[in-house]
């Protein structure tokens, strides 16, 4: 049971949603954009999230877009991970998302919710980082479209009241060889010890990671090391560990030492699976 009362709003346009946020925030109601609600419900009941008003964005048409226009795949933030997976339109995103939680939860967890989550893994962002996708962000000043690699740094760098509306991905990326490998502590359903998503473009392997550090990332440095084909793969993998952007995560899912071991194994396997390594 959520112990606090909150108001519920159901805008039908983006402008209305963004405006509502401003008004409710001015009233001191700590508004939250609401879509699947899994995080608000599960953290709200243990008093780790508070909101006085939720703004449900599921009925805003742009937020549920699932379309290809001019060789661009447009995905609305309110699409669930199950919908993304079942559509088959972006297999790497579908498969990466399918590693999150369980099917029942994924029927509710959305693309936007996962990427903007308080929980540190945000695995759905990995395919967007690899494919140089762009994201549409709505804010008080209107809509802007920015490369995800610019605006995602540890998490989506949104200002207060801004809403991640859609992602836009060049469909040429979608047909490239890809792989996603998730390693967990022990169960079939859990947060990652290590998740690695990879694609192989014409020129190189691209890699993005979750669970290794306390945030998901794509590292140009690691990509550069891994693509030095003249060096044996094992040595490249060893070298990659030295260029992680932050200390290796050390928590109840796995110690830093074990994660490093799993990271190296998984990176090795990922590269072999995606080919061209």
């Amino acid at each position: 049971m959520i112990p606090f009362n909150f108001e519920y709003y159901e805008p039908s346009t983006i402008q209305e949603a963004v405006h509502l946020f401003k008004v409710l925030d001015d009233q001191g109601k700590h508004p939250l954009y609401y879509s699947g609600g899994t995080e608000i419900i599960t953290l709200g009941r243990i008093n780790e999230i508070y909101t006085g008003a939720v703004i449900d964005i599921k009925n805003i048409p742009e937020c549920s877009t699932l379309a290809i226009h001019n060789e661009k795949l447009i995905l609305g933030c309110a699409l669930t991970l199950s919908e993304l997976h079942d559509s088959g339109l972006f297999p790497l995103l579908g498969e990466t998302g399918a590693g999150v939680a369980d099917r029942t939860s994924r029927n509710k967890i959305t693309l936007g919710g996962n990427i903007c989550s308080q929980i540190i893994y945000r695995e759905a962002v990995l395919p967007l980082l690899l494919t140089d996708s762009e994201v549409r962000i709505a804010g008080p000043g209107g809509m802007q479209q920015v490369p995800i690699n610019q605006i995602f740094n540890q998490k989506l760098q949104l200002r207060k009241g801004e809403l991640f509306v859609q992602s836009i991905t060049d469909t040429s990326y979608i047909h490239m060889p890809y792989t996603a490998v998730k390693k967990r502590k022990v169960s079939a359903i859990d947060y990652p010890l290590v998740t690695i998503a990879a694609i192989r473009t014409n020129s190189m392997i691209r890699l993005a990671f979750s669970g290794v550090c306390s945030f998901p990332f794509r590292s140009q440095m690691i990509e550069e090391i891994i693509n030095r084909h003249q060096i044996p793969l094992q040595s490249r993998v060893e070298e990659a560990v030295n260029h992680l952007p932050a200390p290796i995560l050390d928590d109840i899912k796995g110690s830093a030492a074990y994660r490093e071991f799993v990271f190296k194994n998984t990176l090795f396997d990922t590269i072999r699976l995606v080919g061209g390594g």
């Binding site: 606090f4 169960s187 110690s255």
Partner: protein
């Protein structure tokens, strides 16, 4: 129709009588209870494992609309505990574990109660934490209970005041000096695992009311409503007649719901609001750490044997991590001590079994009652001994298992009735597991498959005066009602009891209506629905009640049919003349009295009553023994596939062969054993509380406390042999717990074989195997 036709209800797979209600979601549990005017309680729990409570600021909580009262440790001075009266209902002055109840709010709505609970500010002064049994017994360790010597302790509990030892039990047998001097090979092995949870699907809850006439009515999700009645009377000095306890279906107990914990809180809460009805229901997080859980253990086993593998001596030390309060942990330890060697005949034995206080969540019963725990210690030592001897581990076990004519660790003489046939179980296991074909094999470059085995035994140790009762009544259609005190906790026991009644009455089981809800005011007592005693004790009581009803049926039928009752028999809803079944009268015409054509009536309602008390039970006496009731046995195996590149593994197959005595409901029995195996594998493979160095549980949520789910399960193979126990109904032995007992040990055995290291600490996370292999120690866990 002939009296020679036997219905044979017993031995058939009858659908559980509660299944339609449960499968459609209509079955009601304690937490489903609601009514207008019901008040709700919510708890504030400790964020420290060991601390003095300096201040509880309730001012913000009182501002929440709908708050009726706020209780703290100051509101009751009663100490509770079945074995040692050491636990305040609400923490007083000091908290001793993370999650301990510090305050309780009662409000008009659940939301208001929770909101008020969240707005309370508790100030603590942290104290040094006792974070394991090893730390607890170190010289100069802080005392969890400085007043241990002043607490009341039950018979057989031996606290050592001035230490963290809640109870010490010594088992001695034979001559150790001789045992060691006869031994040619000696091994020593240590094992450990931290406390964990039961994780029943239904979180615990209780509803309490004090009626204006003085009756205290408690509805509770309990395996032991009659014990709630008894102990509430004892704790609060109330005559038991004034206490009425009701229990509907219980959504899984596993021992955790045999503890009394929420009931006194609900009672205090109701008392504080003028006796109004108050409901308290655990959140999942509270159910995991605030309510009692599964015991932890550190153990050291030293075995000596001849070079041929005959065990000559055993020195066993168990340090059970009972947590901050004793509850049933010293009794779990007692049960483990009584069966401390596992199912092996060891004539020279020295065992010290200690229950240790730590600043961990406290332990109650857990399915197997100390036996999966002791089995893990013993079986790991058996594997170590087999390795040192260069012997096949199954051969070593077969050579040393107990057989009729041996004595138990407490020197009870074992015979073929009070001891299951383990040799036959092992023979079957050997074939089923393909043990002689291979034990370990390489599948490809990275994959290794291996097998592990475990033997187990368990004595359903219980209170010596534990009893069970049953009432059989009739409906005007001649069908029967069965009422008994066994709680339906998901085991299907009440369906089996209906089968037993149907068998004795020679009726179709559909003619037996079972009452599920327990109401201690009218339901005949069944001690506790624990220890795999439901079918045994309840079954004996039901048979006696059936015989009582049959005698009454024969008496009245004798009048009606004008024959000697001794010439009559019952069956198929009739009483008939044995030699001429055509001469008969239907149950429906006599069960409410018989009316002659002119209206004259004789007889009356027939009510059959029965009871059972296990014979010759005694308190544990290491010198003279603990009499049974009986030791039931299992032989188990696990097959795994380990990836040696990353130490991930799959559990491919799990096998149990159990001496069931007599299988009363094959599908039900198989389900019980399979469920227990899943629980044992989950405990062995993943379930544990993770403590930081301050004793804080870092994973008190199902997000971070994983359980084996559907799809992760191995292939389960469950087989029974039938070597009857002569005292049991139709010979049926206990089997609710045996599927669990050997699973952690068999899993560790298989993984050790595949990884080439000794795995002695649970759970067996891949990281743990990697660490053992790489010799990387754990820092905190």
């Amino acid at each position: 129709m002939s009296h020679m036709d036997h219905l044979e209800v017993v031995g058939k797979s009858i659908l559980k009588k509660e299944s339609p209600d449960k499968a459609t979601g209509r079955a009601k549990y304690t937490g489903d209870y609601t009514e207008s005017g019901l008040l709700h309680a919510a708890m504030v729990t400790s964020s420290y494992a060991h601390a003095n409570i300096l201040n509880i600021d309730t001012s913000a909580a009182w501002q929440v609309k709908g708050v009726r009262t706020i209780l703290t440790g100051e509101d009751s001075h009663v100490l509770t505990g079945e074995e040692i009266r050491d636990r305040p209902i609400i923490a007083k002055d000091r908290v001793r574990f993370f999650g301990e109840t510090v305050a309780v709010v009662v409000a008009d709505t659940e939301a208001a109660a929770k909101q008020a609970a969240y707005s309370m500010i508790v100030q603590y002064e942290p104290l040094q934490v006792v974070n394991s049994p090893t730390q607890a017994i170190r010289k100069g360790a802080p005392l969890v209970h400085p007043n241990l010597g002043q607490y009341k302790a039950a018979d057989g509990v031996n606290p050592i005041p001035g230490t963290n030892v809640a109870s010490l039990i010594k088992i001695r047998k034979g001559q150790m000096e001789k045992g060691w001097s006869d031994s040619e090979v000696v091994i020593e092995n240590t094992v450990s695992f931290a406390p964990s949870d039961h994780a029943a699907m239904e979180t615990r809850s209780a509803v309490a009311e004090i009626r204006p006439d003085g009756h205290i009515v408690i509805e509770t999700s309990s395996q032991a409503p009659f014990a709630v009645k008894k102990y509430m009377g004892l704790y609060f000095n109330i005559e038991p007649g004034w206490i009425i306890v009701k229990t509907p279906f219980v959504g899984g107990g596993y021992g955790g719901k045999a503890a009394i914990q929420l009931e006194p809180i609900a009672y205090l809460a109701s008392k504080a609001v003028g006796g109004r009805k108050v409901k308290i229901i655990n959140t999942r997080e509270e159910d995991m750490v605030t309510s009692p859980g599964h015991i932890g253990l550190e153990a050291r086993v030293k075995l000596g044997s001849t070079s041929k593998g005959e065990i000559t001596a055993a020195e066993i030390i168990y340090w059970f991590d009972g947590g901050a309060y004793n509850d049933k942990s010293s009794d779990v330890a007692r049960a483990a001590a009584a069966d401390c060697t596992g199912p092996y005949a060891i004539n020279n034995l020295y065992c010290d079994c200690m229950t240790i206080y730590t600043n961990h969540p406290y332990a109650s019963a857990y399915r197997g009652y100390g036996h999966a725990e002791l089995t893990f210690a013993i079986e790991r030592a058996m594997d170590a001994l087999a390795e040192k001897l260069g012997m096949d581990p199954l051969e070593l076990r077969t050579m040393n298992i107990v057989t009729p004519g041996d004595t138990s660790p407490t020197r009870n003489m074992l015979n073929s009735s009070n001891l299951g046939d383990l040799r036959e179980c092992m023979r079957r296991l050997r074939n089923l597991s393909g043990w002689d074909e291979w034990k370990v094999k390489q599948v490809d470059a990275n994959k290794v498959r291996s097998k592990g085995i475990s033997c187990g035994w368990k004595n359903s140790s219980m209170d010596p005066n534990a009893s069970s009762g049953a009432i059989v009544s009739f409906n005007p259609d001649g069908s029967l009602n069965l009422e008994c005190g066994v709680v339906e906790i998901g085991t299907g026991t009440k369906t089996v009891l209906a089968q037993i009644l149907a068998e004795r009455m020679k009726l179709d089981p559909s003619q037996i209506h079972v009452k599920f809800t327990i109401d201690t005011a009218i339901t005949p007592e069944h001690w506790k629905t624990v220890a795999s005693r439901g079918t045994f004790m309840g079954g004996r009581a039901v048979l006696k009640a059936a015989d009582d009803a049959i005698r009454q049926l024969l008496d009245i039928a004798g009048c009606v049919l004008r024959v000697d009752p001794e010439d009559l028999e019952v069956g198929w809803g009739k009483v008939f003349v044995r030699s001429d079944p055509a001469v008969h009268v239907d149950f429906k015409d006599i069960c409410y009295g018989y009316t002659y054509p002119n209206g004259n009536s004789i007889g009356g309602q027939i009510i059959g009553r029965g009871h059972y008390i296990q014979r010759q039970m005694t308190y544990l006496n290491p010198e003279t023994g603990e009499v049974g009731p009986e030791w039931n046995v299992s032989a188990q195996a696990v097959e795994i596939e380990l990836d040696i590149s990353d130490y991930n593994y799959k559990i491919l197959k799990a096998i149990s062969v159990i001496d069931a005595g007599k299988v009363l409901n094959p599908k039900g029995a198989e389900g019980q054993v399979m469920g227990a195996m899943s629980m044992g594998l989950s405990f062995g493979n993943r379930e544990t509380f993770i403590f930081n160095d301050q004793g804080i549980v870092l994973n008190p949520t199902l997000r971070d406390y994983p359980l084996i789910r559907y799809g992760e399960n191995p292939e389960y193979i469950v087989k029974f042999i039938e070597n009857p126990c002569l005292e049991a109904p139709f010979g049926a032995r206990a089997l609710g717990e045996h599927g669990l007992i050997g699973m952690p040990a068999a899993l560790a055995s298989a993984l050790s074989r595949a990884a080439g290291v000794h795995l002695n600490h649970l759970p067996l996370f891949p990281e743990r195997i990697w660490r053992t292999k790489m010799r990387v120690p754990y820092d905190t866990v």
